[in-house]
Symmetry: C2
Subunit: 327 residues, 2 copies
């Protein structure tokens, strides 16, 4: 039984709690929160909620600590700190800051002889590992990543900051025609606008000027101006009824050639279609928690990424079973 601790009980922490129940070789030891523990109600019976202050004293009861905080302010502090006491997995997803985060975590992990897996999830995560496989198999080729259809938290937040907006949700949608061109091996050069559409569902405040809101959203630099954006005004009830789930997904494609004259085309396509972005991310993290535990047991310590984890470490099956059943 691999004993798991969860730090942070937002959507991702809840997803991890749920994923642990689907893995019979894992058990949840406790959830740690900065809130008042008695205000947090878990879905798993018999598991306690503790304040973050109590985390370090539980270090001998936890094999892997899963860090469910945010990449902006939580993880840059938490991962290097808690890896002094625990094997950890995080989903640090600020792509540009991964090298810096890696260095901070690696030093602490090595000193403590712990194993840290950072940036685990689907992007970064499964999408990254598929980009790597695609690049090494087809060195002469081109990468494409499309996201969606899914809810972008950042873009939904941007809508909600517009004057006159009560609430809103934004969906990122890949352009089907662009995807098909890639699949046909045409290796298109795609602009931002040609790759993704943005669709917004907005609840306006009473008496707000919806035409002005729509203009402001569509012309917002970085977020919407470079895209074909559609804005729908709906009621608060419609938003809650039709747009409360958190779907996402996307496509990683590698289009390349082989042969002495590059005469044969090949396409590798990896696609995710997810009803719940946080629950899927959590499911990836839990599989990698198993790997972190095992790698640490074998003396593989320091900071690692998804690229450093041999797939066999992820499975509860033995090497013999894997070769027989899945190879």
């Amino acid at each position: 039984m691999i004993r798991i601790g969860i730090l942070g009980y937002g959507n991702l922490g809840k997803g991890v709690e749920s994923a642990i129940r689907q893995n019979t070789d894992m058990g949840l030891v406790g959830v740690f929160t900065r809130r008042a523990p008695e205000s947090v109600i878990l879905k798993t019976e018999g598991v306690s909620v503790y304040h973050t202050d109590q985390l370090i004293e539980k270090k001998d009861e936890i094999d892997v600590l899963i860090l469910c905080g945010g990449s902006a302010t939580d993880l840059p502090v938490q991962t290097p700190e808690y890896v002094k006491y625990f094997n950890v997995v995080d989903s640090f997803d600020t792509h540009a800051k991964i090298p810096e985060h890696y260095e901070n975590v690696n030093q602490a992990a090595k000193s403590a002889e712990k194993t840290a897996l950072i940036s685990i999830g689907w992007d970064p995560g499964m999408f990254s590992v598929n980009r790597l496989y695609g690049n090494v198999i087809l060195p002469e080729g081109k990468d494409y990543t499309f996201w969606g259809k899914g809810v972008s938290q950042g873009h939904s937040d941007a809508i909600r900051r517009v004057e006159g907006v009560l609430d809103g949700k934004q969906y990122t949608i890949p352009v089907e025609e662009a995807l098909e061109s890639v699949r046909r091996g045409e290796n298109p050069e795609l602009t931002t606008r040609q790759k993704h559409l943005r669709e917004c569902f907005v609840v306006a405040k009473e008496g707000a000027d919806t035409r002005k809101i729509e203009e402001e959203i569509k012309n917002m630099p970085n977020y919407f101006a470079d895209y074909d954006t559609t804005v729908h005004f709906i009621t608060k009830e419609e938003l809650e009824r039709d747009h409360s789930s958190i779907p996402h997904g996307g496509f990683v494609l590698r289009s390349g050639v082989t042969g002495f004259n590059g005469e044969n085309k090949h396409l590798i396509e990896y696609r995710l279609k997810l009803d719940s972005n946080p629950e899927f991310t959590a499911s990836v993290i839990v599989a990698y928690a198993r790997a972190a535990y095992r790698m640490n047991q074998e003396g593989i310590v320091g900071c690692k990424t998804i690229f450093d984890v041999a797939p066999a470490y992820l499975s509860p099956l033995s090497g013999e079973q894997l070769r027989k059943e899945l190879l």
Copy 2:
């Protein structure tokens, strides 16, 4: 520079020769054949062809030997034999006999302190590793593998054994409707007939009874009787003009649920669309030859499969570059 030797110069060996040219950190030392070496003409200038008898004396000049023989009779003998002298990669693809092959190779590899990677390619190979990733991420789910559209060597051979047939090619085609049902998360139970179609292009001998040939093909047990099979009679010229390439591909899908009540559905889809089956297989093998070389340098010896190879070993980029550019 990783120095590669090729044993066997059929379609796969030629694909390996071509793939090595796409990988700047690799060089071809020589091609070894059971035929008369002077009868084999390579496409790479300055590289020699040797008789298999000369292979062992070249052992200090070769970092990884790529075994390009067949799974029926060549590899069961060659892989355990040559791993005594070389790090090796093979594409042994008789699924049911992999455990036995593994044991034979593992003992020899460990004694010699060499690294053997067996069953590398796309199925077994990339499809296997995607089945594993799918299973560990979505433990509550169902696997689907579809093959095609592509040429099946075994089924083409079966057609050619029918009386009155001069030549023929068989395409395995996934049933689009079944694929779509899986993609919709319906978790269908699919019969053999519901998953794949078989399409045959046949050149009949002069005066042969084509109706009899068609009946015999369609009713052939194991190969065609359980499928909806179409038979087209064409001329030898048409066969050569339209059916001389060796395309293949397929789909690995994992459909599963997450959430406390399994309320959220997820789909992971991995797809390959290949103009040349042997060249793509060779490209996978060459990337894993890099891994075999590096793992051996790190003292990781014995028989390994695609499940045991951390993705980072496959890339010529450093860990730092990978984290910066692909994560």
